[in-house]
């Protein structure tokens, strides 16, 4: 298990009890999101779909790397990693 920090931007904090960041232990980005879901199910519903895939309008970064450009939910974590949830910002 690796000790990582999950950072939650202001746009999503209402689904996380107002929490800006939390620390947890996980091996991959996917297991980090599963642990996040145990604590904040409403936040999890915004991040992943019913099949557990990251929704198209949300991006997960491990450090500076978007997990879509890496190994997705299987992206390995290292001690001290910061996992940031970035919501899509778009409109017309």
């Amino acid at each position: 298990m690796k000790n990582v920090t999950i950072r939650i931007p202001a746009a999503l904090r209402e689904f996380a009890g107002g929490m800006a960041e939390l620390e947890l232990q996980a091996v991959t980005a996917g297991t980090a999101l599963e642990k996040l879901a145990e604590r904040f199910p409403l936040l999890s519903q915004r991040i992943v779909d019913q099949d557990g895939a990251v929704r198209t309008y949300v991006n997960i970064f491990v450090g500076e790397t978007n997990i879509r450009d890496s190994s997705g939910l299987e992206t390995r974590l290292a001690d001290g990693d910061i996992v940031t949830i970035i919501p899509a910002v778009a409109g017309g």
Binding site: A10, T84, A90, G92
Partner: protein
């Protein structure tokens, strides 16, 4: 404590308004966009800095905008380092009013600040501030 559906005061300085106006005018006829950094308190949002970012959308940039996730990450990290938050976004309506479009509403995050820059028929710019609350966009009060 203010109720969620009440308007809040969105503080945006004259300097930041001019920056948005310049970016929106320069981008015409495509939509300009950026993020709003500052602090939220009950009944108030204080915008301390704005960013001007590339319109990343793959749709028609005359009618749509999108901020690249990596740009959001960079601004988020910079705000975090200053103990601030990304509290909203701004974009322009090169051909329309400051009212949120259906797309703006559909893609809005709850309780986030959305500033829209529109242009009157005479070319002058106007600004509006909105939040998505209880499944509708409510207009907030812009002040300096």
């Amino acid at each position: 404590m203010a109720k969620r559906y009440e308007s809040i005061q969105v503080m945006l300085s004259a300097s930041h308004r001019r920056s948005i106006g310049r970016a929106a005018a320069a981008a015409k006829p495509i939509e300009a966009c950026g993020l709003l950094v500052g602090t939220r308190r009950t009944g108030q949002a204080e915008i301390e800095s704005i960013t001007v970012l590339a319109n990343y959308t793959r749709r028609d940039r005359h009618s749509y905008y999108e901020i690249a996730p990596v740009d959001f990450l960079r601004v988020e990290n910079e705000a975090h380092a200053r103990n601030r938050d990304v509290i909203g976004a701004w974009h322009s309506h090169p051909h329309g009013p400051i009212l949120p479009s259906a797309t703006d509403r559909d893609l809005a995050w709850p309780d986030w600040c959305y500033v829209i820059a529109g242009f009157r028929d005479d070319g002058t710019m106007q600004l509006g501030a909105w939040r998505f609350v209880d499944n509708r966009m409510i207009e907030d009060q812009l002040s300096q």
